[in-house]
C-alpha cells in the first residue's frame, strides 16, 4: 500500500460550528494524528473556495485520504465525494466527522464541544485509513413498467408512459379497471360527471397498443431489483374466454343466480356471471364461482347454453405468468372504514343510514335506483343529514383527516338538495375547503340553502320510527337532536385490507396510519424504500382526484427517468464474501431480507448478488467466521472508529 496521506479540514460553517467549537484547536489536534499530512480550518468547506482548497492540497501534498469535519454526512457527503473525484481521487477515500448536528448545535459548553469534536475527528481519521477505493456499477434497465391497480392514478401513469412509446402492463384485481372513481356520480368542485371524465381514459388505456391490461389478476411475487424485476402474476380464472366473448350480455341477462352487487355497495343486485358496471373495461363478463349454481351444485349451465360464441369456459383455471419489468408503480387505492365499527352511527341498525359511497350509487343514473334518492320504503326523503368526519379525526378510530370528505360531503349535500328538494343538514367539525375552486364551491353550496351545523354528528338514534342525529352545535353552544329521514355517513378513508400483504410483496414500508410510506414525506412523495418501486394515489394516503392524477403522472415521470437513463446505478456499498474464510453455514442466506445471498454448491460458499444487495450488513454481523463483510462498513473501519472515538 502506498503511504497513506490524510488531509483534515475543519469547517467553521460561518458561526454555526465556530461559536461552540475551537476549530483552529481541533485542526491543530488533527495535525498531530498519525498519517495526517495536513490539517486546516476554514470558514465554509462546502463553498467553492473550500472545495478548491481540498483539490489544491490533494495535488500539492499528494493527499490520498480526506476528512472533512463539518455538518452531517447526510447533508454534504455527496458534495465532497465529488470534490475528491474531480481531483482524481476515488470518492470513497473520504470520511466526514459530524461536528455541527452532533456537536456544536447540541452542546452547551465550548470546552466539551471542542473535546467531542476532536474525538469525532480522531475517529474519522482512524477510519479513513482503512478506506478502499470503490466503484459504482451499472446494470441494464428493462424498459417495461408494471402498474399495479387500475384506478385513476394507475390509468394516468400507464397512459403517460405509453405515450412515450414504452410498454406498460396494468394489473387490476377486479374484473374492470376504473377503481373507486368509477363508483362516483359527480365530482367536486365542477360537478362534472365522474364517468364522463373517467371512461374515456379507461377506454384509451384499453386501446393503447403500448398498454396491456390484466384485469381480474393479482401480483403474486416480485423478485429482482430496479431495472430487472421478475414479477409473477396470477390471472384468475374468468371462466370466460376473452378472445371469443363479444360482450353481447346475453349470458348475464339469462343467468338465474342473483347476488348483491359490490359495485353498487350492496344496494342493487347482480348476476353470478356479470360485468361490474355498464362502462366496464374490458366490457366482458366474469363468473363469480362462489355464487354460481353450476360451480356450486354442478347443474344449470344456462350462460354456456345461451352464449352465441361459445365463450363460457367452466374448465378455465388460474394462470401464473412471470414477466420482466424495469420499474413498478403501485397504485392500489384505498377503502372506506367499516361503519359497523361504530354502533353509535346506526349503520346496519337502522334502515336509512347509508355510507357516502352508497349515496353516490343512489344518485348515479346507472345505479340501483336509476338515480333516484329514495328511502328503503321507496319514498323520497324530506330531510337528509350528511355527517362529515365519521371515524376520521377521531382518536377512537382514525386520527388523521380523510382530506377529501369535506368536499365530497359538500357535493353530496348539493346532490341531496338537487334530487330531493328537501332540507339538507351538514354536520361538520371544521370545513376544510383547501383546493383550487373548493372554497368557491363551499360558498355556492351554502347559498343553496343547506343547513350547516358546526358540530360532529356523534350519534344517530331512532325514536318512534324517526331518525335523529345528535350533535353539540358549537356555534350555538347547545346539544341538539336533529330529526331526519336519511343519514349519509362520510366514513374515513382507510388503507386497503390487503395493504400489509401488498407492502410485503413489493418491499414498501407503511406509515403508522397503515398507508404506504413514501421515501421522504416532502421531497420524495412517490419513491419507496425499494428502488424502482413507486407509489401513487390513495394507497399512500387519502387523496382527491386531482392529487391522484398528479401523482400518477409523477410516478410515470419517475419510471420514465429510469427508463430513459437506460442504466441503473448500483451502489458499491454492498456485502462481499471472503471465500477462503466462508464455512458454508448458510446463516446469511436466511438473514438477508432481499434474498441477495446465494449459495455456490460447487465451492460450498455464500455468493452475494451485488445488484440485489442493499448493504444493510445484517449478514456480516451474523457471520461466525468473519467471511462476510460490507464494503465501506468493514469491521476494520468500524472498530478503528470505535477505538479512536474514545481516545480523546
Amino acid at each position: 500500500m502506498p503511504d497513506v496521506r490524510i488531509g483534515v479540514y475543519v469547517c467553521h460553517c460561518g458561526s454555526n460550528i465556530a461559536d461552540k467549537v475551537d476549530c483552529a484547536g481541533v485542526a491543530e489536534f488533527a495535525g498531530g494524528l498519525p498519517k495526517v499530512t495536513i490539517a486546516r480550518d476554514y470558514q465554509y468547506m462546502c463553498a467553492d473556495p473550500g472545495q478548491d482548497l481540498i483539490r489544491k492540497d490533494i495535488k500539492d501534498h499528494k493527499l490520498n485520504r480526506v476528512v472533512v469535519a463539518s455538518c452531517s454526512p447526510r447533508m454534504h457527503e455527496p458534495t465532497f465525494r465529488k470534490t475528491l473525484e474531480s481531483a482524481g481521487l476515488n470518492a470513497y477515500f473520504f470520511e466526514m466527522a459530524n461536528i455541527r448536528e452532533h456537536v456544536s448545535w447540541v452542546t452547551e459548553g465550548r470546552e466539551q464541544a471542542t473535546e467531542k469534536a476532536k474525538a469525532l475527528v480522531a475517529a474519522a481519521v482512524a477510519r479513513v485509513f482503512y478506506h478502499e477505493p470503490l466503484y459504482e456499477r451499472f446494470a441494464d434497465m428493462n424498459k417495461r413498467t408494471l402498474v399495479v391497480g387500475g384506478g385513476i392514478a394507475g390509468i394516468e401513469a400507464a397512459l403517460k408512459i405509453a405515450a412515450s412509446g414504452n410498454q406498460v402492463v396494468i394489473v387490476e384485481k377486479e374484473p374492470s379497471i376504473g377503481g373507486n372513481m368509477a363508483k362516483l356520480d359527480k365530482t367536486f368542485p365542477t360537478l362534472d360527471c365522474s364517468a364522463c371524465i373517467l371512461t374515456p381514459k379507461m377506454v384509451a388505456a384499453a386501446q393503447d397498443e403500448n398498454i396491456t391490461l390484466y384485469t381480474y389478476a393479482e401480483v403474486e411475487k416480485v423478485e429482482g431489483y430496479v431495472g430487472n424485476f421478475q414479477v409473477t402474476i396470477r390471472k384468475k380464472a374468468r371462466s370466460v374466454d376473452m378472445d371469443k366473448c363479444t360482450g353481447c350480455g346475453i349470458c348475464y341477462n339469462k343467468c338465474p343466480a342473483k347476488v348483491p352487487n359490490e359495485f353498487d355497495e350492496g344496494l342493487g343486485m347482480r348476476k353470478a356471471i356479470y360485468v361490474p358496471f355498464p362502462q366496464a373495461v374490458p366490457n366482458k363478463p366474469v363468473i363469480d364461482r362462489q355464487n354460481c349454481t353450476y360451480f356450486q351444485k354442478g347443474k344449470c349451465g344456462v350462460c354456456s347454453k345461451v352464449c352465441p360464441t361459445g365463450a363460457v369456459d367452466y374448465a378455465q383455471e388460474d394462470q401464473l405468468v412471470t414477466e420482466d419489468f424495469g420499474a413498478i408503480i403501485v397504485s392500489t387505492g384505498f377503502e372506506t372504514l367499516d361503519p359497523t365499527l361504530g354502533p353509535q352511527w346506526g349503520y346496519g341498525r337502522y334502515d336509512n343510514v347509508i355510507t357516502a359511497l352508497q349515496f353516490e350509487r343512489l344518485v348515479n343514473a346507472s345505479g340501483p335506483t336509476q338515480g333516484k334518492v329514495v328511502l328503503k320504503d321507496g319514498t323520497v326523503p324530506k330531510r337528509v343529514a350528511v355527517l362529515h368526519c365519521v371515524g376520521s379525526r377521531d382518536l377512537n378510530f382514525r386520527e388523521y383527516c380523510s382530506r377529501f370528505c369535506c368536499m365530497s360531503s359538500l357535493k353530496l349535500a348539493h346532490l341531496a338538495k338537487e334530487k330531493t328538494g328537501g332540507e339538507v343538514y351538514s354536520f361538520y367539525i371544521d370545513m376544510r375547503a383547501f383546493g383550487k375552486g373548493y372554497e368557491e364551491f363551499y360558498n355556492r353550496v351554502m347559498e343553496e340553502g343547506i343547513h350547516f351545523i358546526r358540530g360532529k354528528g356523534t350519534e344517530v338514534i331512532q325514536r318512534a320510527g324517526e331518525l335523529f342525529v345528535r350533535t353539540e352545535d358549537t356555534l350555538l353552544g347547545k346539544y341538539r337532536e336533529v330529526p331526519v329521514d336519511l343519514v349519509v355517513l362520510n366514513v374515513a378513508t382507510v388503507p386497503r385490507a390487503d395493504a400489509e400483504k401488498v407492502a410485503q410483496t413489493f418491499g414498501i414500508q407503511r406509515s403508522p396510519d397503515g398507508f404506504f410510506l413514501e421515501a421522504h414525506v416532502k421531497l420524495e412523495p412517490l419513491k419507496t424504500a425499494t428502488d424502482g418501486v413507486f407509489i401513487a394515489g390513495g394507497c399512500q394516503g387519502p387523496k382527491d382526484i386531482p392529487d391522484s392524477v398528479s401523482q400518477g403522472a409523477g410516478a410515470a415521470a419517475e419510471a420514465l427517468s429510469l427508463i430513459e437513463a437506460g442504466k441503473v446505478k448500483i451502489s458499491p456499498v454492498v456485502a462481499s464474501v471472503d471465500e477462503a474464510r466462508c464455512g458454508g453455514c448458510k446463516a446469511c442466506l436466511a438473514l438477508c431480507p432481499y434474498g441477495a445471498v446465494d449459495f455456490d454448491d460447487e465451492k460450498k460458499v455464500a455468493v452475494v448478488n451485488e445488484a440485489v444487495c442493499k448493504g444493510c450488513g445484517t449478514c456480516a454481523a451474523s457471520c461466525a467466521s468473519g467471511a462476510m463483510g460490507v464494503r465501506h462498513f468493514t469491521d476494520e473501519q468500524i472498530l478503528a472508529q470505535i477505538g479512536e472515538v474514545l481516545a480523546v
Binding site: P73, R74, H102, P593, C616, T618, D635, I638, L639, L646
Partner: protein, 174 residues
C-alpha cells in the same frame, strides 16, 4: 457514591436512516444534551456485531447505545429485529465478561424524534453516572485481593460470583 465529577463516555452506534437522522434532527432543532456520547454511523442496526459493543468497553467506554428504526420501520425491512435478537446475546456476553448489562442499551429512534434522542442520551448519562465508571473486572479483582497474584480471567467469572467477591472485598477493606 463518589460519582460527582464522573463524566461517562458513551459510544452511540446509530443506523443511518432513522436514529442517525434523529440525532441530526436534535441538532437542527438545537436541542441541548450532554456531550458524553460519541456517535458512529452504520447503515442498519442489524449491522452491529457484539464485537463492536465489546470493543467499545475494551477501549474504555462506560456505556454503549445502539439505536435503530422503530419496529416495522426498518429501511431494510427487519434489520432492527435482528439487532433486537442480538441484544439477548450481547447482554449474555456482557454478563460473562462481568460488565453490568445496564451499560448497554438498544433503543428505537425515528428520523423525526430528535427530542426523544436527546432525552435517551440524557437519561443514559445520568443512569451511568449512578452505576459509576466502567472498570474491567480484572482491575476490580486486583483491588480486592492485593498481592494475591493474577486473578482468574474475568471472562469465566459469573456475575453472582463477582458480586460476592465485591461485597466481601468491601467488608474486608473497611
Amino acid at each position: 457514591m463518589k460519582n460527582g465529577d464522573f463524566e461517562p463516555r458513551i459510544v452511540g452506534i446509530l443506523c443511518n436512516w432513522c436514529s442517525y437522522a434523529g440525532a441530526d434532527l436534535a441538532g437542527i432543532s438545537r436541542i441541548k444534551y450532554p456531550a458524553n456520547i460519541r456517535i458512529i454511523r452504520v447503515m442498519c442496526s442489524g449491522r452491529v456485531e457484539p464485537t463492536f459493543v465489546l470493543k467499545a468497553f475494551a477501549e474504555g467506554a462506560d456505556g454503549v447505545l445502539v439505536s435503530g428504526c422503530h419496529p416495522g420501520d426498518c429501511h431494510y425491512g427487519e434489520g432492527n429485529y435482528k439487532a433486537y435478537a442480538r441484544k439477548v446475546l450481547i447482554e449474555k456476553l456482557l454478563h460473562q465478561f462481568g460488565i453490568e448489562k445496564e451499560r448497554f442499551k438498544l433503543t428505537w429512534v425515528s428520523a423525526n424524534e430528535g427530542e426523544r434522542f436527546a432525552q435517551i442520551v440524557s437519561e443514559m448519562v445520568s443512569e451511568i453516572k449512578e452505576i459509576g465508571p466502567y472498570r474491567p473486572p480484572r482491575e476490580r479483582m486486583r483491588e480486592l485481593q492485593p498481592g494475591a497474584g493474577t486473578p482468574p480471567a474475568p471472562g469465566w467469572l459469573a456475575e453472582e460470583e463477582l458480586e460476592t467477591a465485591v461485597a466481601g472485598g468491601a467488608v474486608a477493606g473497611e
